[in-house]
Symmetry: C2
Subunit: 335 residues, 2 copies
């Protein structure tokens, strides 16, 4: 059978454009022994995907040109020749931007049934665990400390801030629009600002006049420079993302204040969620519990239809999303 | 009584000049109860002093204008009204660039007699402990790893490289002249290069084609950028100094590759020796032992006379020294 998928066809220079992608019909094999066929319900678009579009050695292979974009997806098993998977099972997989996915059952992790299957791509998935591991393990945040998170209205940032509040911290967030800033205040952030409203360094100094203990970086550049300025002695910066840099064709000159690392004995550490899979049980208990109890909000920006996947991704890089950006595909009654 | 001292009289803009200092006669009080009078034998000039000449909040107060330059010195007690200190004792103190120092005995630490009292300002003092703590504690270096150290012919760098060799590492060093590079090879460095001979990034890639585990940074800027490029996954950069930046009036745009922190989950951490005083006994045992056994070289660049202290310091910032730069004062028979 066949279904639609989105391929990367050219490596973007700077900001990606729709012409870098194509929507095509792709063949989906009928399941053989031990295999399943899945109808995807939600596709994930994530900032890290921009990096993998470059032809540069990194932690993962670059995306192959002419192949369907890889990435997280949740869907429903519609045919199974594996004992482990039944038709109707909800599964999480990594085959990316395609309507149907198929292959060995081991590539499709069966998830508990959920009213919000897209949460497995966000608050209860990779972005949520990233927030949890970055704040608590890499950032070594503890109650009573002050955290600054950039990209605070994004999938990761919004969880970072809420987790810090739940564990007794003071939280400052930056975001890119008045609406996002208002939402951060709704979430209980102690302070929030729009980085368009003035120098980040000045706004952060005003928001956290006594400094910050932990910086959770999703943005890089001027935000990192401002954070280094505000971090206290022995403070820690967790480098999770640098979305301000991903489309850059020339590297940013900031931060220009790295010598402050010495005077304040700061630690700046990069984070990839894959190093922290062992935290998954603790994460699911704490974050899943808080979510179920209504003590944590998991907002999503939902775009409909695989034909909108590229636009969703481009919008993500522009900051159009509040919370996790997902692409919703229609339910079907059969394959 | 009186003795000569060197005062800071203006805050340097960019590279300091002799006009920023003045050599003056200063009053040295006769010791009162519990006090001592010391004739200094060696004065320390160190890169960190440049930072303290700026009027900027940092880990230590800026130097006061019109006061004698503070810093390490070793000398001999010439008068004592303290039971703890006898005339002839060798003492380490922090009163800086002056021929005579005096005050409460507690400010003058009695050191074991030594044929090389200046070692207490270098290999067996602050720079040596900096190297030890930075390499082993902050850098978490272990046998079999590859270390890159910049400013490798300096007081700290030359100890870093030798300690890494003694503990079974592979060591690459950079320095600023062919003579220094030759000395690094004499010290047993596996590779050494002159950073004037080409892009640091290119030279480092050639010297350590399989990457580096630990970078010990004394230089900053392009050196740090190159090191981030060469660090392996989970590699660590110890930021001890950024001498390339100290005279900068505009912050450096490098490193421009900070996003590699994420892909490689690097840790970049600032180091101040004051945090690591607890390591002193271990340090003295290992480094003192290696020095006594002739397994570690402690080269010095010695400049004579307090009237040369400013020139020694300016030369240090220009990289005139190989090993520790000290100012030697004449021996005296009495105060």
């Amino acid at each position: 059978m066949r279904g639609r998928g989105v391929r990367l066809v050219t490596r973007p220079k700077g900001e990606p454009t729709p012409a870098d992608f194509e929507l095509v019909e792709v063949e989906v094999p009928e399941p053989g022994d031990g295999e399943v066929l899945v109808r995807n319900r939600f596709l994930s678009v994530d900032p890290y995907m921009r990096g993998r579009m470059n032809d540069a050695k990194s932690y993962a292979e670059p995306y192959a040109l002419g192949k369907v974009m890889h990435g997280g997806a949740v869907g429903e098993v519609v045919a199974s020749k594996a004992d482990s998977h039944a038709v109707g099972d909800l599964v999480l997989s990594a085959q990316g931007w395609r309507e149907f996915a198929g292959g060995p059952a081991s590539e499709f992790r069966v998830m508990p049934p959920s009213e919000h299957p897209s949460h497995y791509l966000g608050v209860l998935g990779m972005p949520g665990l990233t927030a949890y591991a970055g704040l608590f393990r890499v950032g070594a945040f503890t109650a009573g400390q002050t955290v600054f998170v950039s990209g605070a209205a994004g999938a990761v940032g919004s969880i970072v801030g809420q987790l810090a509040k739940l564990r007794g911290g003071t939280v400052v967030g930056s975001a890119g629009s008045p609406e996002k800033v208002a939402w951060l205040r709704d979430l209980g952030f102690d302070a929030a600002f729009d980085y368009h409203d003035g120098r980040v360094m000045d706004q952060l100094r005003r928001a956290a006049p006594d400094g910050i203990d932990v910086y959770f970086d999703n943005v890089g550049g001027e935000h990192l420079e401002a954070a280094l300025d505000s971090l206290v002695v022995h403070g820690r910066a967790v480098i999770c993302g640098m979305i301000s840099q991903y489309n850059a064709t020339e590297p940013s000159p900031a931060p220009r204040n790295l010598s402050t690392l010495i005077a304040k004995r700061l630690t700046v550490q990069g984070l990839l969620v894959g190093d922290h899979a062992d935290l998954m049980p603790d994460f699911l208990e704490e974050v899943g519990g808080a979510l179920a109890a209504g003590r944590l909000q998991a907002r999503e920006t939902v775009v409909d239809g695989i034909e909108s996947a590229v636009e969703a991704f481009l919008g993500l890089l522009r900051g159009d999303n509040t919370g996790k950006m997902v692409v919703r595909l229609p339910e079907g009654t059969s394959a």
